[in-house]
């Protein structure tokens, strides 16, 4: 690539422009090449793999495929796993909504109520990110034990006759949605906190002075001003939740009927070695998320997320 592509124009410096563009190229090239090799090339590799056909000479040996343009693979996986794809987006959507409802008041508390006490505020933030410091898998397993049939929650609910004697929590959709919500709460709370931390309280006072009731103040002033945080929080929760396969796995919170697209990709790739199916599902997931994200970002009017 010619370094003229990186012509520098800003920041007046004594160095000649040609030299400056060399510096820019030197700074960018290693990282960009790295991402091209280990982010872009894998995506191309996925597309190629998704179109492969079984090797006719391998006699059904697992994992043996030839390059082809077998577009039917996509129709096949949608036919076979359509249910899992829809379920993933449904669970991820519910987890995002629950995480938002849980996080907003908490973020408001840390960002606004605790503003006068900086040290307590720092403590509150630390508590929100504390789950990150214990392994993702262990905290999910902890919930599995707590929600298991012998655990406190089920025993208490059954004792109060709020749950039937044959009912379970783990292995059911409710446990998976719960796990997804819990695990991604910090991703929702932190961006909302950042927005609310910068909220100018004089707007809230002005709204009160103009006789808006608290609900009106919230919906017309506070919520719109914190919208950027809500939008990035929703993306940061929805994307990993839709692709997650730990919570829904049957050794964790899920069961036979809760398998999500991530579980199917994992088992096709790593267990049955049906690489084309796993790759086609990955491409479908990626495309669906990119479409959803770009529509969502455009609708909500924040283009600069990075």
């Amino acid at each position: 690539m010619a370094f003229g592509a990186f012509t520098a124009t800003a920041a007046p410096v004594d160095a000649a422009p040609r030299k400056r563009s060399l510096v820019a190229l030197f700074l960018l090239l290693p990282g960009i090449l790295y991402l091209a090799l280990f982010f872009l090339a894998p995506l191309v590799s996925l597309v190629l793999t998704s179109l492969q056909t079984p090797d006719p000479l391998a006699f059904g040996e697992p994992g043996a495929y030839d390059y082809a343009f077998k577009w039917e693979n996509y129709a096949t996986v949608i036919g076979t796993y359509g249910e899992h794809i829809l379920r993933s987006f449904f669970y991820a959507l519910l987890a995002t909504i629950f995480a938002l409802l849980f996080s907003y008041p908490l973020a408001y508390f840390i960002g606004v109520t605790l503003r006068r006490f900086p040290l307590v505020q720092a403590l509150g933030l630390t508590l929100v990110i504390a789950p990150f410091f214990i392994s993702f898998l262990l905290r999910t397993l902890a919930w599995k034990q707590i929600l298991s049939d012998e655990g406190v929650v089920v025993t208490a609910l059954k004792g109060l006759s709020l749950m039937g004697p044959e009912a379970h929590i783990t292995g059911e959709p409710v446990a998976v949605i719960f796990g997804l919500t819990y695990n991604f709460i910090p991703f929702m709370t932190l961006p909302i906190y950042t927005s609310l931390q910068n909220l100018d309280l004089r707007y809230v006072e002005a709204s009160g002075d103009l006789y808006a009731n608290p609900a009106r103040t919230f919906f017309s002033v506070i919520l719109p001003l914190s919208a950027p945080g809500v939008i990035s929080g929703a993306l940061l929760t929805f994307i990993p939740a839709a692709g997650d396969y730990v919570n829904a796995s049957s050794s964790f919170l899920g069961g036979r009927d809760t398998q999500m697209i991530g579980n199917v990709i994992e088992s096709n790739f790593l267990v049955t070695q049906n690489y084309p199916a796993a790759a086609a599902l990955s491409i479908i997931l990626m495309a669906a998320i990119l479409i959803l994200v770009s529509v969502y970002v455009r609708k909500s009017g924040t283009d600069d997320l990075l």
């Binding site: 160095a15 990282g31 408001y108 509150g124 994307i239 692709g243 730990v246 997931l285």
Partner: protein, 265 residues
């Protein structure tokens, strides 16, 4: 009564919410002291044995060391590459700027399972054997974007007058960079490195696709989950938790002290 309630409702809610967030952490720590023989599910009494003989359980310590090794290597690589990009993005105008920004944003917007499966497909096609190397390559990839985001803010907040002063005093460009720019960027670079290490250390989904027989700590947990996690794994996770919390609290207290000092001056 009702006024009192509405005034303190948010306090009550938030304290309950904090407690809720801490439940699985407390559970993991408590069960690291469980006198468990085989499966660490039922409470059988208090013991310190799991803490004093952590490496008794097969594979726990090895997987932990593997995670540390991967985390340090990937952090080093990602921090260097990401910091270079961050400096270029703030200080230089170039033609493919938007494409570069998009290329950095996309890995963060891609589900991990897609990143993991994609790399695994690439390594399969290229005939690269899965192991420590492929895990490090994968972790470096997803850490770069987070480093760029973190360091970029710091570069943007840098006062160019300080570097100009250095140049005015006849410092060479290398001297300006090493003596002025780099030290001023250091807090951002350290934050980025810590974030990278944390992301790498806890990553499971991408690792699972690219590790082969190489076992990191999260992968050990996933494999062990089917037959029961040994209490020693809880010990390691709890120890990591305490170290991280101490780290955060100390850094927040020093930051608060610095703010106070600045306010007084």
């Amino acid at each position: 009564m009702s006024r009192f309630f509405s005034k303190y409702l948010i306090w009550i809610y938030s304290i309950l919410a904090f407690l809720f967030l801490l439940i699985p952490i407390a559970y993991t720590i408590v069960f690291s002291f469980n006198d468990s023989r085989r499966s660490n599910i039922v409470w059988r009494g208090f013991t310190l044995d799991n803490w004093t003989q952590v490496c008794q359980a097969q594979g726990v310590c090895q997987s932990f060391l593997n995670s540390i090794l991967v985390g340090l290597t990937a952090t080093l690589l990602a921090t260097i590459l990401g910091t270079m990009i961050a400096i270029a993005l703030v200080r230089f105008r170039f033609r493919f700027r938007n494409s570069v920004t998009l290329l950095l944003f996309l890995p963060m917007a891609t589900p991990e399972v897609v990143l993991g499966a994609g790399l695994a497909a690439e390594f399969l096609t290229a005939g690269v054997a899965k192991g420590a190397l492929t895990v490090i390559l994968a972790h470096t990839m997803f850490c770069i974007s987070f480093v760029v985001v973190t360091v970029r803010a710091r570069v943007a907040g840098l006062n160019p007058a300080l570097e100009e002063a250095g140049r005015d005093l006849y410092a060479s460009p290398t001297q300006v960079f090493l003596r002025i720019t780099l030290p001023l960027l250091m807090p951002g670079i350290i934050a980025a490195a810590l974030l990278s290490f944390a992301l790498s250390f806890d990553d499971f989904i991408i690792t699972n696709f690219n590790s082969g027989a190489f076992v990191t700590f999260p992968k050990f947990l996933y494999t062990a989950a089917a037959r029961g996690i040994p209490a020693e794994a809880n010990v390691i996770a709890s120890a990591v938790f305490f170290i991280a919390i101490i780290f955060v609290v100390v850094s927040q207290l020093t930051a608060a002290a610095r703010r106070k000092r600045l306010a007084r001056e």
